[in-house]
């Protein structure tokens, strides 16, 4: 059983905000969905699927970078050609 506290913990881990009403709604839904996922318990643990591909490489050759206006053009906040982000501390 997943409790509301668990859901809050997952939201914190996922760095995602949820509202009070959603907490209640998500808790019930998560329980249904995770119960359904329990069917995977019957699968024997082992290696995962393979694509058959390996060692796909690119040569070490310089490709032109984007022009400056295209780099910063979609950013909401910039300063002196830097992107601006909220403080981390």
């Amino acid at each position: 059983m997943i409790s509301e506290r668990d859901v809050l913990h997952i939201a914190e881990l996922a760095d995602i905000g949820i509202t009070r009403e959603e907490l209640d709604e998500f808790t019930g839904q998560f329980n249904d969905i995770l119960d359904y996922f329990d069917i995977l318990d019957q699968v024997e643990a082992g290696a995962g699927a393979e694509t058959g591909l390996y060692n796909v490489f690119r040569d070490d050759e310089v490709v032109p970078s984007l022009p400056p206006d295209e780099i910063l053009g979609n950013a909401g906040e910039t300063e002196d050609d830097f992107f601006r982000a909220p403080r981390v501390m």
Binding site: I18, F26, L40, D41, G48, G76, E77, P86, V88
Partner: protein
């Protein structure tokens, strides 16, 4: 060379962004009107993935497939509506409103490529690009009565496809008929060194409707619990048509279907939880609140920018990858996936293609599927092909209650040509 004036009305809300005057050039698709799903990067054209969090984002680059379309002269008329980031089966989960089914506007067009399907089905465009992570091309193709194909994983470059679940999804063609699907496949399947999972297998095929001696496997599970009996009988009729056209029908079993859907959802949610972490508002998209602390503003931004279904999947995916649960969920899902692939290999040693319904039901009424789990369950018949990376197509196969039903044909890895042949034979057989 020319300009395609695009002024057709859009009563079903198929488009998020329209190009009123689309330039086109010479080539295999000269002047062909094409719509592109809004999770495919288009240089200079807003690309939102149906999400508020990407509102106003104008990519500085074209996806590989868009480069190919332009190079072959296509007229790209706009970007189609979709479930946010591809997470849905109805195209109701869009920040830009739901798309309606052209066959019945009270019903959903299916999803997540619902906008592309509706645009083709309503005649607004001749072809469209969709993306298929767990059925997102085939489901709306079935619900709207058109043809939709998920190519073999790796045949079409994902470079420029905004990732939802990288290991499962492919870009694919959607059109009114199989020859158009084949034409578009010829353009899209071009090896791209920028996508490390891209394989070298260009499609140069012309559809051949002769299916004499073809062995068609029909897994019992595709007609099991949850499949509407009316849909089941309609699809069986379609399969009998294949038999009349010379194919041999062999019923078979696919035991991994028991847990394929769970494996699919654990995988796509896990990958999504990581893929969607980049939308922090620093480099693109509406900016985060600069007065708040990083985590606080990030959480707020994701709460306001993502719809509920996206947050549900991101949270569940985070959980499935978290310490202590990885083994129970993610690792098990990968083992399950191997079993699904093994089931396909075994079956394809006995038959040439597998056939069954695309969807267990006809298109839902708008708002009908409010419970997430019941919505997920409707993907049960489409996800196996994604888990195994094999090609699968949906072709129109009659109607139930006036609503289209899709016949799904799945083929061996990299045998997209064979799948298209069978679909073509069926299409020709139906119209004959």
């Amino acid at each position: 060379m020319g300009i395609f004036a695009f002024s057709a009305p859009d009563p079903c809300n198929a488009f998020i962004t329209r190009i009123p005057e689309a330039e086109y050039g010479d080539g295999k698709l000269a002047g062909v009107s094409i719509a592109v799903k809004d999770n495919i990067s288009t240089k200079g054209i807003q690309t939102t993935c149906g999400s508020k969090i990407l509102e106003g984002y104008v990519p500085p680059y074209d996806a590989h497939v868009v480069e190919l379309l332009r190079a072959e002269g296509a007229a790209i008329l706009g970007k189609t509506n979709m479930d946010e980031f591809g997470m849905g089966t109805t195209t109701e989960n869009s920040a830009y409103g739901p798309t309606l089914n052209p066959a019945d506007r009270e019903r959903v067009p299916g999803g997540s490529s619902g906008g592309s399907a509706a645009a083709v089905a309503s005649g607004m465009v001749r072809m469209a690009l969709g993306t298929d992570t767990g059925g997102s091309i085939r489901c709306p193709a079935a619900f709207c009565g058109i043809v939709g194909m998920k190519p073999t994983y790796g045949r079409v470059s994902r470079y420029g496809l905004v990732a939802y679940a990288n290991s499962l999804e492919q870009i694919g063609p959607m059109a009114a008929n199989v020859p158009d699907i084949s034409l578009l496949m010829g353009v899209l399947t071009c090896h791209d060194p920028r996508d490390s999972t891209s394989i070298i297998a260009p499609y140069t095929h012309t559809p051949d409707p002769d299916i004499h001696g073809l062995k068609v496997g029909v897994p019992e599970e595709y007609f099991g619990k949850g499949v509407d009996p009316r849909v089941a009988s309609t699809v069986w009729e379609g399969i009998s048509l294949l038999e009349r056209l010379g194919a041999e029908i062999i019923t078979c079993r696919m035991p991994s279907m028991d847990y394929a859907l769970a494996a699919y959802y654990v995988t796509c949610m896990s990958e999504a939880s990581s893929n969607l972490a980049r939308f922090d508002g620093v480099r693109y998209g509406p900016p985060a609140d600069p007065k708040k602390q990083w985590h606080e503003s990030f959480q707020e931004r994701r709460r306001d920018g993502f719809g509920k279904e996206v947050r549900r999947r991101v949270m569940l995916g985070t959980f499935a990858l978290s310490s202590g649960y990885y083994g129970k969920y993610y690792a098990k899902a990968q083992s399950a996936r191997r079993n699904v692939a093994a089931d396909f290999s075994r079956l394809f040693s006995e038959v040439d293609v597998l056939a069954g319904p695309t969807m267990p039901t006809i298109a839902f009424r708008l708002g009908e599927k409010s419970d997430p789990l019941s919505m997920y369950l409707s993907d049960i018949l489409t996800v196996p092909a994604n888990l195994a990376g094999v090609p699968a197509i949906s072709v129109p196969c009659g109607k139930v209650d006036g609503m289209p039903v899709g016949l799904q044909i799945m083929g061996r890895w990299c045998a997209d040509e064979r799948v298209i042949d069978v679909a073509y034979a069926f299409e020709e057989g139906v119209s004959a």
